[in-house]
Symmetry: C2
Subunit: 483 residues, 2 copies
């Protein structure tokens, strides 16, 4: 039996989901606080998840020709102001540096909230000819947005992310890259994080400041709220015109480049917590679990138990996983087995291996799945094969379970009555038709406190008229309450 002391300390998600979330973040030791208001500390258990996200997403990037770079963290005010929509969107929420060393700066600079303007300033000189295109650059860094309300992983004044910024010869190439990266994000979420997502386009109201089109992946959390989990923007030649980024084409004429940008952040960790977690704590998909297997010796002081535990660790650590070899540990601390079980559960470790004198006698051990509690007795001789295939099965079943939950919490509304009723009684995505008019979008937001999440790529026609104004409908929209 798992020791309940650790577990009792967390609020149940049914009682208070927000409190459950912060309890898990704290008890699983993912984040900490400092005196810097609105900023957080990624503790080892939290940062290790980010490292696993980084390494796997970065490999996927590189397979599509992405190259990593690093640009400065400061943006001079005059640079930020060059693209009108962009500065309006970001200026109110940036941090300003006004003094360098002992001198006030002649021009103040903000800490990057995003780096479109810096990349444009760089591309302006770096791109001369069609031979220099495309540029498909990305950087892993932190950005700053002066948020008033913050929540671990989901919203903080400084957060970690990757931002890709590309420049292309044609509008078609830019659109293709925008969609390619959105698809990559969706594949990443499904395959690595075991989180199913809806791919779609943002309405004009919700798109990025300065973009022609913003595409998004939207995931549904366990409490039925939506989380925008990654976005990809097509800028057309808007930034190129504002910054004068031109290239000489094969026909010897000067043309503006077409640009895109795309980003995902550490809020993906928040998504993992809120999609998979339960009342015993974190539940990590094997591909982002810093420890995938924890071996807990039973009666570890009995002769032969600890050596057998270490032997299993060494054998399992040689098995090739998705990223390097399997990540396996032995908890040989002085705590009781029950306490260790609870810790494994709180920290979301996918498989716990229990091995004691009786198991050794029978030449077997017990594998316990974190995601569903299932116990499987396996022969020690088969442990490599059993653990490797179980990790794959867990990864797959976690995605299936999340997809079932998402589908079971996706509703259809044909008119405002249904729409209101759903958001009063249920929690989840609601699919409804929309006329394309921002007025209706605003009305719906005001009335139901929900936002348009996206116009999905997979369009359906669930009625002919807008759910709000009853004029002819132009698109199916996913609506939801969002983080």
């Amino acid at each position: 039996m798992a020791d309940k002391k650790l577990v009792e300390a967390i609020t149940s998600m049914e009682e208070d989901f927000a409190k459950w979330y912060t309890d898990v973040v704290k008890k699983a030791d993912l984040m900490g606080y400092t005196s810097v208001k609105g900023c957080m500390v990624f503790k080892p258990a939290g940062y290790a998840i980010w490292e696993l996200i980084q390494s796997q997403m970065d490999s996927m990037f590189k397979e599509t020709g992405v190259e990593n770079v690093y640009l400065p963290m400061f943006i001079p005010e005059s640079l930020l102001e060059k693209e009108k929509d962009h500065v309006e969107g970001f200026a109110p929420e940036v941090a300003w540096v006004t003094q360098g060393g002992l001198q006030p700066l002649q021009e103040r600079m903000c800490v990057r909230p995003t780096s479109e303007t810096l990349f444009c300033d760089f591309y302006k000189d770096d791109i001369q000819s069609y031979r220099d295109l495309p540029k498909v650059y990305n950087q892993w860094c932190s950005v700053v947005r002066w948020e008033k309300e913050t929540r671990p992983f989901l919203r903080s004044r400084e957060f970690l992310w990757q931002e890709g910024h590309t420049a292309h010869a044609t509008a078609e190439d830019a659109e293709k890259r925008t969609i390619q990266m959105l698809n990559l994000y969706a594949d990443f979420c499904e395959q690595v994080l075991a989180i199913p997502v809806i791919k779609g386009r943002k309405t004009d109201k919700e798109k990025f400041a300065g973009a022609e089109a913003t595409y998004t992946i939207e995931a549904l959390m366990h409490d039925g709220k939506a989380l925008q989990s990654g976005t990809s923007h097509n800028f057309g030649d808007g930034f190129a015109r504002a910054f004068g980024i031109q290239y000489t084409d094969k026909d010897n004429t000067l043309k503006y480049v077409h640009q895109t940008s795309w980003g995902t952040t550490t809020r993906l960790i928040g998504a993992v917590i809120m999609v998979h977690g339960d009342n015993s704590g974190l539940v990590l998909p094997p591909r982002v679990a810093p420890t995938q297997v924890m071996i807990v010796p039973i009666q570890q002081k009995k002769e032969g138990v600890l050596p057998k535990a270490y032997e299993l660790r060494d054998r399992l650590s040689k098995v090739q996983g998705t990223v390097g070899s399997l990540r396996v540990k032995v908890d040989d601390s002085e705590k009781t087995p029950g306490w260790k079980f609870s810790e494994c559960e709180m920290r979301g470790i996918p498989i716990r291996v229990e091995i004691g004198p009786k198991d050794i006698e029978k030449d077997s051990c017990v594998l316990v799945r974190r995601d569903n509690g299932e116990k499987i007795t396996v022969s020690l001789g088969d442990i490599e094969k059993e653990v490797a295939s179980l990790l794959e099965r867990i990864q797959k079943e976690m995605l299936e379970r999340a997809r079932s939950h998402r589908d079971a919490h996706t509703y259809i509304a044909k008119n405002m009555e249904e729409f209101e009723k759903l958001f009063t009684e249920k929690s989840g995505f609601v699919k409804a038709m929309w006329c394309g008019d921002q007025e209706c979008e605003d009305k719906i937001k005001e009335k139901l406190s929900v936002t348009s999440r996206c116009m999905p790529f997979e369009q359906e026609k669930i009625s002919d008229t807008c759910v709000c104004c009853k004029k002819p409908a132009k698109a199916l929209v996913y609506w939801g309450r969002a983080y």
Copy 2:
């Protein structure tokens, strides 16, 4: 023959080493400029070297129990001020954020120039008991110091680095970790960057603001100037007392922790350029070469040439190297072979493979070493083995060559006359005895414009008296002109 157009564009290092350096940085496409004064852009070729440094150093860290974290980039002024020596050392060169969003901040914050104060603020709450020790945390991030004069990789207002910050129960544990990390840095420089270093302790004048002792690794560049390439600091309990970081020991008494910090930066890339580069451009040690092997097809339009080049690339790409598999490319562009050769040289690619119709006929190809120009004809059947062992040989010989250069430019001075003569006529390290008095250190600096680089761990007694004041000597010191 290599095409000379690219090469002619760089200044020779004998003519003007500083100009040679910036030419190489530019022509090898490592860095770029933006409108942000004093800050630089890491272009793909430059950033890829940093990624290779990161991944290999990070593995070495983790083998010693280091865990990665991420702390905020901002330090409230009151926090920076808590340790007296530390704030005096850093306050004059930080960037200050005074406004967040549309509001002026109640307390201004600096962008971290280093994170001792943030880690202390975090450890103060995170450490309670001896069970919580040691803490061996590290972060990979950027820091800002408001430098007036900047040079690519060597000195810029923002630079990338790693900073380790540890807390220990005893002074002995802290000293042990300080030395362990310095040794790790030295091993890294020798094994990965092929740069030999002198390990030693800084004089009090040169130590880190707030440290009890600073240890350093010092490398000698090709022009005879020294480059401080990594430092490791023992803080004793100074910061712990200033921040109140105490733990309850086994005997139930409250004790202060003992702390260390250690860092290396992107200036290591500058060291690689200045130790190994030549008048044809960059020369990269195989372990940090983003492309290790460039296959250049000769008469690539002739039947069979390109397919053979791709076949060799695919075969070589399957060979396991130090980090993943070998990094191999084919230059199938429309440029002339001569131009491609020059580009390989400028970019420092360790091995160029030349393969044309005549080679294919003889079932062989030519390997050309970047470091010494040697050409080796090998049978195509053996290419995996030949290339893998050649890369290892190059790595080893580059270290030996750098060590010979360093040793040939290390001199001994027994008195001021010799000392002056050496720094007038020669360029390199000068070993001389020192009384331990800062007055002599200051005099030497004033008179010869050289600084004490370190008191090496391997002490020798080359005379009984201080080179400057002739009082009894306390230590052998390495002196040099430094970057």
